[in-house]
């Protein structure tokens, strides 16, 4: 009986280790799970590059795509055409919002002149909105549904497919 107990101890130690290995074997250690998914959009009131005030209330009742970017961010150049494409076909079905992350407004405005200004509001963040979203670095994009609930996040540059998937999560299907 004692001998049987002793040999049961070995699988009792190895099984939890094996389970941890099995669960995490396919996980990307660089991906940090977002805490804001399925939570409400944080309250904010920020100034746009055009000098207007933009608040979370301006997004009420409308799906939104919130894109954190910066003029010093290389991958932001790669994803910008995807955002411009959506802006050109979305009409009023979805609100695009840019958030300038750790950047000078003049540099951000110059970047838009160079790569194309889609006409959506670009907010100048004092750092707190990025903290509230749990942003780890640009580009990061959040998809918010019409009820103001954050439904999806894309870390890194958007692709046509990831944009389409994110929009689908918030009930927007563009043809």
């Amino acid at each position: 009986m004692r001998s049987n107990l002793r040999w049961l101890l070995l699988p009792a130690l190895l099984l939890p280790l094996g389970w941890l290995l099995f669960v995490n074997i396919g996980a990307d250690p660089r991906t940090i799970p977002s805490q804001i998914i399925c939570r409400s959009l944080p309250a904010f009131s920020l100034t746009t590059l055009d000098g207007d005030t933009f608040t979370d209330a301006d997004l009420a009742g409308r799906p939104a795509v919130i894109n954190f970017w910066a003029s010093w961010c290389g991958p932001c150049v790669a994803e910008h055409p995807v955002l411009l494409d959506v802006a050109s076909v979305a009409g009023g079905s979805v609100q695009l919002v840019g958030v300038v992350y750790q950047d000078r407004p003049a540099s951000a405005a110059g970047w838009l002149r160079r790569y194309g200004d889609g006409g959506w509001p670009d907010l100048v963040d004092d750092g707190n909105l990025a903290l509230d979203f749990g942003v780890t670095g640009p580009p990061e994009t959040y998809f918010v549904d019409a009820d103001g609930i954050v439904r999806d996040r894309v870390v890194g540059p958007l692709t046509t497919q990831s944009m389409r998937d994110g929009l689908h999560e918030i009930g927007v299907d563009l043809s």
Binding site: R6, L9, L13, I32, Q35, Q102, N128, T136
Partner: protein, 153 residues
């Protein structure tokens, strides 16, 4: 019972060392600036690698340091301030795990391994020898002697 003495002593020693290390950890600072610095040292810089918020010079870390001071000034405890950032970034933001389980689990695994090894060794020592094979009978002894003589010839 004596057979269990060695593993029990080893397990107690390992757990004792872990407990002493846990109790000897520095206690929380009392002044506001020291508390803010302590919290910043416990938080991971969100847009750098292997740096705390206290060490990093990025704007994100500066914003976090400012938020820490603002929250402490608003009367929140250091634990509440840490939780504020955990709510936004998850436990990933903590450079030190909040639950002592992460520290204790390796000690427990080590203690269990030592116990298993001690049990295995003590069991081998005290295990009775296998019974000796029966002595050969007279006919077998005579046959063996004959075969040995034939080999020597």
């Amino acid at each position: 019972m004596k057979r269990l003495a060695v593993p029990v002593v080893l397990v107690a020693a390992v757990l004792g060392v872990g407990l002493v290390a846990f109790l000897a950890a520095p206690s929380a600072p009392t002044s506001g600036a020291a508390a803010a610095a302590g919290i910043a040292a416990d938080l991971r810089c969100p847009d750098c690698q292997s740096l705390s918020v206290a060490e990093s010079r990025t704007a994100a870390s500066a914003a976090i340091r400012a938020e820490i001071v603002a929250q402490l000034d608003a009367g929140r405890t250091p634990d509440e301030v840490r939780q504020h950032f955990v709510d936004r970034y998850g436990a990933w933001i903590l450079l030190r795990p909040a639950l002592p389980l992460a520290w204790i689990a390796p000690l427990l695994a080590l203690a269990a391994g030592v116990a298993w090894l001690g049990w295995w060794i003590s069991d081998r020592r005290t295990r009775p020898l296998p019974p000796a094979p029966p002595a050969p009978d007279a006919a077998t002894r005579r046959r063996l002697a004959d075969e040995a003589e034939a080999l020597d010839a």
